[in-house]
């Protein structure tokens, strides 16, 4: 426990530096704005703004990016409640009861419980993050290249299997991302791979180009396709937002349950904020004395999911910081950002750069307080953003996307690539191919290959090394179960159903 308080003290000594508080504030505001504006998610915003953080010191830059990451979840609930459209995916379930509450004239209570729940989930999850991370990091110090390789295989298969209903589609996305990660000069031997004589590809394909193309440009294309046919109606809120004692009493148990649930789910690859918010909704409905009120304006239906998604987003930083393994699109982007600043997340980071790790963690308390203060009295100001003309907003987002990509290497070739990935992303969205696994694989690909090659170098090229080390075997078995478990289970259920159907007429 002494160690915990010492870490907290190191963290706050960094997080409370005026520069860091300022950028945490900027990140939190930007995050909320991004969350409020439909069509711009945290992935897009972080990818666009990443080049603008080159001049900041790494700790300050990461504090700002993390502020945007969890700030977006706060803002996401505003649009769910006021226009029945989630500002970002993990706030989708909030529409069910949040919008109903707003229609019944209880928008203030819905917005307040979402903000307080987000604060509660985010803050408690940060405490858990600080308690658990050092333990995981100590365990991870025992990992050698084969274990790391197996861990990445598990992370990628989990993300492939869990992000959509189809593991095959997830795998397609993952493998394409891995192939993309190999474009350019091989780091170990200097071989040119898949560059087709184009010098622009020598340094590889930047993850920001892919992230902005897949997520932002494809979103703009989707928006262009439906823009003239879908016009949202914004419900108005007057005065500042606060919550009655009765509503708070009704929401509190949901805050506690959903924090635990969100944190547990959020640390798993592929699950994340969206899954945890849906599961929290199901849990709250199950334990409620009045489940019939869900879908008709139950406050627990807002409190639970909004708490769970914040806790989950914080929990996703456990595998990222301790193992260097991102579990979602946004954390993959954060990993890319860390690498860009010359930081390699993982167990060693806790020893080599404690000020960075604990500073970033402590900044999350600061960020959550800022977000609560911002979101309760200023929700009307943020809601005003919804009055921005969509056409102007989208045109500026497109221009920002181009600037974000061009700013990387001042190369129009990259902008062209972004456009190509935008078209690919449009088809992936349209036909339900998840995009996050592709981004994750692209960012993890290089590390994965390095660990794969180092493992084989250790065994003089014998692949049996992956089957002779206990942790590696367990991890690879988990990956196999994730991939084939649902298929085997499905076939078994079908066979049982067939047998039951055959027996029934005979018995009859």
């Amino acid at each position: 426990m002494d160690q915990f308080f010492s870490n907290v003290s190191i963290g706050f000594s960094v997080a409370l530096l005026p520069e860091n508080v300022f950028y945490c504030f900027v990140g939190a505001i930007l995050g909320t704005v991004i969350g409020v504006l439909p069509g711009i998610g945290p992935i897009t915003a972080i990818a666009i703004l990443l080049p603008a953080t080159y001049n900041l010191n790494p700790t300050t830059a990461v504090i700002m990016l993390c502020g945007m990451y969890y700030g977006a979840t706060y803002g996401g609930s505003t649009t769910s409640i006021l226009i029945n459209t989630p500002g970002e995916a993990s706030s989708a379930v909030t529409c069910l009861d949040g919008y109903q509450m707003a229609k019944q004239g209880r928008a203030k209570a819905a917005l307040a419980t979402a903000a307080i729940g987000s604060f509660f989930g985010g803050t408690v999850a940060t405490v858990l993050l600080m308690l658990i991370s050092p333990l995981v990091a100590t365990l991870a110090l025992k990992f050698a290249p084969p274990e790391y390789f197996a861990l990445m295989v598990v992370a990628l298969t989990m993300v492939s299997g869990l992000t959509t209903g189809s593991a095959v589609k997830g795998l397609v996305s993952t493998l394409l991302g891995l192939l993309l990660s190999m474009v350019g000069l091989d780091a170990q031997a200097g071989a040119q791979r898949f560059i087709f004589g184009m010098p622009e590809l020598m340094e590889g394909i930047d993850f920001i180009v892919v992230a902005i193309g897949l997520f932002a440009i494809s979103e703009m294309l989707m928006a262009a396709g439906v823009f003239k046919k879908v016009a949202p109606e914004v419900l108005k809120v007057k005065g500042s937002v606060w919550i009655s004692w009765q509503d708070l009493k009704a929401s509190f148990p949901a805050y506690v349950r959903s924090t635990a649930l969100g944190f547990a789910i959020g640390a798993l690859p592929g699950a994340g904020g969206t899954t945890s918010s849906f599961m929290s909704y199901v849990l709250e409905k199950k334990v409620s004395k009045h489940p019939e009120q869900f879908g008709h304006g139950a406050i627990e239906g807002v409190a639970g999911p909004e708490t769970a998604n914040n806790a989950a987003h914080q929990a996703a930083l456990v595998p990222l910081m301790t193992l260097g393994i991102p579990t979602s699109g946004v954390t993959a982007l954060l990993l890319g950002a860390f690498m860009m600043y010359g930081l390699q997340p993982g167990p060693l980071l806790f020893e080599t750069n404690p000020e960075f790790v604990w500073g970033v963690f402590a900044s999350m308390y600061v960020g959550n307080v800022i977000l609560l203060i911002l979101n309760l009295p200023l929700v009307n100001v943020f809601a005003k953003l919804l009055d921005l003309p969509g056409a102007v907003l989208y045109s500026m987002v497109i221009a920002f996307c181009i600037l974000g990509v061009y700013g990387l290497r001042l190369s129009m070739f990259d902008v062209g690539l972004m456009l190509a990935f935008g078209i690919i992303g449009y088809f992936m969205r349209t036909y339900n191919y998840p995009m996050a696994p592709c981004l994750l694989a692209l960012i993890l690909g290089d590390l994965m290959e390095q660990n794969f090659r180092r493992s084989l170098a250790l065994s003089a090229g014998n692949p049996a090394i992956f089957l002779t080390r206990p942790i590696t075997v367990v991890l690879l078995l988990i990956a196999v179960l994730i991939l084939f478990g649902p298929m085997v289970l499905g076939s078994w259920r079908n066979a049982r159903a067939r047998v039951a159907a055959e027996i029934e007429p005979e018995a009859g």
Binding site: Y394, V415, I423, G461
Partner: protein, 154 residues
């Protein structure tokens, strides 16, 4: 043919090509236990297998690829607007460096806003020019990012 089935065939061909490129990759002077071609070979083979799995899956399910759309039932996406939005970015790729950031970006913003919603010209022109000038000033002055000056010369 459904999208998924067409894609599975395309992916099989693509992964075969990637496999061929990996196998025929020129050798480097540095001798290593595991060369730079091994991982691409493994991944290409995995992609071939997954493309076969996707083909089998689409054959078994026989259902047309499920499309996701935010539109009400029966409504179709506005392909013309999508194509025009794409063309705007495509033209910008070639026009930005010769025209300069401010001019090209202002024109892009005005054009894209008009593509999304016709009319509102004054609003679109003012916001487009404002965006181009303000962003240029911020990036060049505060963030030291060099953006093309082009024909305006500033």
């Amino acid at each position: 043919m459904s999208f998924d089935r067409g894609l599975s065939i395309g992916l099989f061909l693509f992964s075969s090509w990637a496999l061929y490129l990996s196998i025929t990759m020129p050798k480097t002077a540095i001798r290593q236990t595991v060369g730079p071609e091994v991982f691409p070979i493994v991944i290409s083979l995995c992609l071939m297998l997954v493309s076969v799995a996707l083909f089998v899956k689409t054959t078994r399910e026989k259902a047309a690829s499920a499309r996701r759309s935010e539109l009400p039932e029966g409504e179709r996406e506005d392909r013309r607007t999508q194509a025009l939005a794409l063309i705007g970015i495509g033209v910008y790729v070639f026009a930005m460096e010769p025209l300069g950031y401010i001019l090209a970006t202002s024109l892009l913003c005005i054009y894209e806003a008009a593509v999304f919603e016709t009319g509102h010209w004054v609003r679109n022109v003012l916001s487009g020019i404002g965006f181009g000038v303000v962003v240029y000033a911020i990036f060049v002055t505060f963030l030291d990012v060099l953006l093309p000056k082009g024909i305006l010369g500033w």
